[in-house]
Amino acid sequence: MRQSMSEPVRIGFYICHCGTNIAGVVDVDRVAKYVATLPNVVVSRNYKYMCSDPGQELIQQDIRENQLNRIVVAACSPLLHERTFRNATAKAGINPFCFQMVNIREHDAWVHTDKEEATTKAIALARAAIRRVPHHKPLEVKQVAVQPGVLVVGGGIAGIHAALTLADGGQKVYLVERDLTIGGHMARFDKTFPTLDCAACILTPKMSQVRAHPNITLWSYSEVVKVDGYVGNYRVTVKRKPRYIVEDLCTGCQECVEACVYRQPKFPDEFNVGLGLRKPVFLPFPQAVPAIVSIDPGTCRVFTHPNGCKQPCVTACGDRKAIDFSQKEELVEVTVGAVIVSTGFQIFDAKRVPYYGYGVYPNVYNALEVERLVNASGPTNGELVMRNGKRPKTVGIIHCVGSRDENTNRWCSRVCCLYSLKLAHLIKERTEAEVWNFYIDMRTPGKLMEEFYNRISGEGVHLVRGKVGDVYPDPADPEGQRLVLQAEDTLLGRVLKFPVDMVVLSIGLEPAADAQQVRRTLNMSCGSEGFFLERHPKLAPVSTCNDGIYLAGCCQGPKDIPDTVAQAGAAAAEAYALVTRGYVEQEPNTAYVVEEDCSGCKSCVPLCPYNAISFVEDKKKAAINEALCKGCGTCVASCPSGSIVQNLFEDQEIFSEIEGVLANE
C-alpha cells in the first residue's frame, strides 16, 4: 500500500442525537455500542449535539487523551457540517482529512419511520466510514488566488444596487444587461408599496450613478454567452448585440428620432408593454441608461425595405457619425473573481388562464400594463383610459392569476396582493371608480405592509374573498364592452355576478425565459419551479452550489423591492469578501497520476473537461495539473491500469465503504 501511515489506526466514533432529530428514530446508543466492537475503534460515544462547542470539545479531548488519529462523526449531511468537524479535529492536532462524516439525519432519521430499519441503516453507514478512515491520509488545503473584479449579470434594481455597492467599495464591476437600458421591471412601475413613493424618483438616480461611476463598466444590450474557469478566476465572454449606434458617439440628442422617415411613432413600444408606439429609432424611455438611441432592424426601413431608406437620421446625426448600419455582433472577454446573478423574472402570461379572457376582451389588462397606464410617463401620461378611450367606472382586480395553481404555477408570488392593493388605490385616485379586489388569501406580511392593507381597505376598495371562475361579456350591455365577473363570495357562500368596465389580472412572477440558459452557462441549480437555487435557504441564501457565484433579486424567487435590494447588498458583501480576501481554499480532492505506474496509454487525456491532463512527451506518461483539476474523479474511474489516484476518494477508500455497507455483521 502506498504511503501507508506507520502508526496504528486509532478511531474515535461519535454519533449525534441532534436533539430528537436523529435519536428519535435511530437507536444511537445501540449504534455506538456496535461501533465500539469494530476493529481500530478506540472510543465510541453518543452525544446530544455534536456540532455544539461541548460536542466538539469532546472530540478534541478524546484525541488528546486517547491518541486518536481518525475521527468519524455520524450526524447530519457532510454538506452542512463537514467543515465544522474538520476544523475541530485540526484544532486537536490531527490532520482534518483524517475525518469522515456519516449522514444519518438527512439520509436516514428524517426519511424513515421504522426505528429498527433506520438503526440498521445507521449501523451500515457507520461501519462503512469506520472501514474507510484507516485509508485516509493527511492532506493539505491549497490556496488559489482570486482575481479582482466582479461580473454582475442583469441590470434591474438588484444588479444596480449590487454593482454600486461593490463599485463604492473600490471593486471593478462589469454590469451586463440584456435590454437596451438598465432599470428592469422597476423602471416601469408607477408607485411602490407600501410607501407609495414614485419608483422613478428612487430608481433613476441610482441608474445615473451607474452610468457615472468610474468603477463600473456597463454593457447594455449584451448577454453573457460563456463562463469558464472556477471560483476566483472566471473567464467570461459577453456578446454585445448590435444596436446600430456607436455608443461613444451618440449624445442622446434624439435628432435622428425626429428626422426618421416615419413621421409618427408606428410600432408597439416595448417599454410600454405594447400600449404605446415608437419609431424604428428610439430612446426606450427618457431616463434610459445608457442615454443613447437604438435602431430596431425589425422595423427600420434600411433593413426591412428592399429599396432601403433615404436615411435622414444619418443626415440629422451629421458630424457625430453615431449611426452605423453595418454594426455587427461583438464578443468581449473579461476575467473576474466573482459573479452576481440578478437576471430577474418575467410576468406570468395571462393567456395561460383562458377563462379570464386576456387577449380576447380588450378591457382585460395585466397588472404591468396598468402600471404603465397609471404612470405619468406612460403612454397615456398617467390618464387611466382603456383601449376604447373610456375611463372605467368599475374595475375588478383578480389576485393570484397563474399563482397557487397546479395548472399553472404552484407558488405564491408574494408581491401580488400588495401591488393589487396599490393598483386599487391608484385606480380609485385617478378615476374614482368602484374597485373590486378578488382574493383567495390576503397576504401582506412585512414591515408596514399590514398597515398599507388597512389603509387601502379604509379607502373604500371592495374586497371579495373568492376567486373569479368566469369572465364573459355582460349580455345586458348593448355595446358588449362591460364584462361580468362570476365568483363565489366565499364569506357569503353565494355565487355572485359582478359587472365591471375593466378587469386587471394580478399575474404572478415566474423565472425569466432564458433562466435555463443562464443556469447552464453559470453551472447553477434550479428549483423545480425554475428559480435559481441558493446553497442553503437560511445559512447561505445568496450563495449557489458553484463557489463565487451569488444570487440577488427575483431570479432566486419572487420578492418585493425592499427584499431585492437587501439581497443585492448581501450578494455584494459576499462577493466583496471573496475578492478582497484574495484567495480561496480548495478542497484537496484532486487527482494525480502515479508516474511509475502509468503506461502512457493516453486514455485519460481526452476525458478531462478542464484540460488538466496532459501527455508528457519526454516521459511518455500522463500528468495532471493539480491547479486545473477540479476533483471529479472521472479520469480515475477510467484509468485502465488503476494508475490515477484521487485524494479523498481513493479506490481503496470506496471499496472499503462498499464492504462496510454490505458486511453482514
Binding site: V353, N407, K467, E488, V495
Partner: protein, 401 residues
C-alpha cells in the same frame, strides 16, 4: 389546463366515510377554499352549498346538511369546477357523485323522470325503456352494411360502441347512419356488438347510482372480452368518459376513442372526399365529457373546417370554458325538476350564445345534445335561423356522392 389524470384510482366501494383516506381524498384535504369551482358552476347560483362548501362541510363532518339541502341535484357533472381547480381535486369524478348519490337516497321521493330512466336502465339496459332486441334495428336502414362482431368471426380494428341514444332515438340513429357511411368511405374495419350491447352506465357511476353502474359495466366488459379488436370507438362522449375513468381498459389492453378522434386522425384521407359545399356558419359546442373530460378540443374543429363552405365561429364560452347543455349527471331526466325550481334551462343559455355568435348551425358531438338543443332552439324561436347537427352528420353530408 387539462384534466390529465383520467383513471379514477380510489376503490369502487369508496364512500363518503372512507373517501378522505384515498389518494383523491387526500387532495380534498389540500383545498384552499378559493371558490374557483363555484364561479363557473352553471347552477352555482342555485346551490345552497356550492362545491367549495361541499368540500369544507365534508372536512368538518357536516355533510348531512349538504345532503339534506338537495344542492347536488343541481350538479350536471360538467367538469367546469374540476377543470379549473387549482389543487386538482377530483370533484366531478369522485366527491360530487358520492354526495349526489346520498342526496338521492335521502329524497322522500325521487323525481319521476329520473326514477323511470333508472328502472329502464336496470331492466332494459337503456334509459328509454326500449327492448334490448331492437338495439341494432337501425342498421337495417343504414344504407351500408353494419357488421355484428359476433358474426364477423375474426378480430376487427374498431369495435363501435353505438350506445343508447344513437341506437334508439331517431336523431341519434341519423348520426349513427352518418357515422356508418363515413366508416365505409374510409374503409374502417369495424363491427358493433348489436343487441348484446347495454348502456355504458356513465351517468350511473359518475353521477348518482354506483350499483347500477357496476352491474352495467361488468356486463359490458364481459361481452367485450369475448371479442378481439384494436380499439373501442363511440360517438357517445358520456360512454367514452366512463370507459376512460372507470372501465378496466388497461387491464384488457383496450384503447377507447371518440368517433371524431378517429375521423380526425384520418383527416388526410377524408378531406379530399369532402366535396359538397355546405355554406354554413358553424359554432361548435364543446361537450363536457369530450372537452374538459378528455381534453379533446382541436379534433372536432379540424373536421369542421375541412368541410368546404363552413365558417367556424366561437361562442363566448368555448373549449375548457364551455357551458354545459344541462344533460349530464342525470340532468337529462331532471328538466321537470329544474323547471319546478325556476332554474333556467342550460341548453337555452347555450343556444342564446350560439345565436349571438351568428351561427346557422350549432354543431355537437354528443347524442344528448341533439334533442336538448333542438328543443331549446324551438322554444326560443330560433328554428328559422339555426339548426343543430352532429359533426358526423355534417361530414357525411359533405361526402361525395
Amino acid at each position: 389546463m387539462a384534466i390529465v389524470e383520467r383513471n379514477v384510482t380510489c376503490p369502487v366501494d369508496t364512500t363518503l366515510e372512507t373517501l378522505l383516506a384515498t389518494p383523491e381524498g387526500q387532495q380534498i384535504m389540500s383545498c384552499l377554499q378559493c371558490g374557483t369551482c363555484a364561479g363557473p358552476c352553471p347552477y352555482g347560483e342555485h346551490m345552497d352549498y356550492p362545491p367549495r362548501q361541499v368540500i369544507n362541510m365534508l372536512r368538518r363532518g357536516l355533510l348531512d346538511e349538504v345532503i339534506a339541502s338537495g344542492s347536488l341535484l343541481r350538479c350536471v357533472a360538467c367538469y367546469a369546477c374540476m377543470a379549473k381547480c387549482p389543487r386538482g381535486i377530483r370533484l366531478t369524478d369522485v366527491l360530487l357523485p358520492l354526495v349526489k348519490e346520498q342526496t338521492l337516497a335521502n329524497l322522500p321521493e325521487m323525481p319521476g323522470e329520473l326514477q323511470k330512466s333508472l328502472e329502464n336502465m336496470l331492466r332494459y339496459g337503456n334509459p328509454m325503456g326500449e327492448s334490448g332486441r331492437k338495439r341494432a334495428a337501425w342498421t337495417a336502414t343504414a344504407g351500408v352494411p353494419v357488421p355484428l362482431i359476433a358474426q364477423a368471426g375474426r378480430p376487427v380494428d374498431v369495435l363501435w360502441f353505438v350506445e343508447c341514444y344513437a341506437s334508439f332515438y331517431p336523431r341519434g340513429q341519423a348520426v349513427s347512419r352518418a357515422a356508418a357511411k363515413l366508416f365505409h368511405a374510409l374503409g374502417v374495419d369495424f363491427a358493433i356488438l348489436g343487441n348484446d350491447e347495454k348502456c355504458a352506465g356513465e351517468c350511473g357511476r359518475l353521477t348518482w347510482e354506483s350499483g347500477l353502474f357496476e352491474s352495467l359495466a361488468e356486463y359490458n366488459v364481459k361481452v367485450l372480452a369475448k371479442y378481439r379488436f384494436h380499439r373501442i370507438v363511440t360517438g357517445d362522449s358520456h360512454a367514452l368518459n366512463a370507459f376512460h375513468r372507470r372501465y378496466p381498459l388497461a387491464e384488457h389492453g383496450w384503447q377507447a376513442e371518440h368517433t371524431v378522434q378517429l375521423l380526425a386522425r384520418r383527416l388526410d384521407e377524408l378531406k379530399p372526399r369532402l366535396t359538397k359545399r355546405l355554406e354554413a356558419v358553424v359554432a361548435y359546442h364543446d361537450n363536457c365529457c369530450l372537452g374538459r373530460g378528455l381534453d379533446c378540443y382541436d379534433e372536432p374543429r379540424a373536421l369542421l373546417t375541412a368541410i368546404p363552405g363552413v365558417k367556424l365561429v366561437e361562442m363566448t364560452h368555448n373549449r375548457m370554458n364551455s357551458l354545459c347543455c344541462g344533460g349530464g349527471g342525470g340532468g337529462m331526466w331532471l328538466d321537470t325538476y329544474y323547471k319546478s325550481k325556476d332554474m333556467e334551462r342550460l341548453s337555452e343559455r347555450r343556444v342564446k350564445e350560439a345565436v349571438a355568435a351568428g351561427a346557422s348551425v350549432l354543431a355537437v358531438a354528443c347524442p344528448y345534445e341533439l334533442s336538448r338543443f333542438e328543443d331549446a332552439v324551438k322554444t326560443l324561436g330560433h328554428d328559422k335561423q339555426m339548426v343543430v347537427r352532429d359533426v358526423v352528420e355534417l361530414l357525411a353530408e359533405s361526402l361525395e356522392g
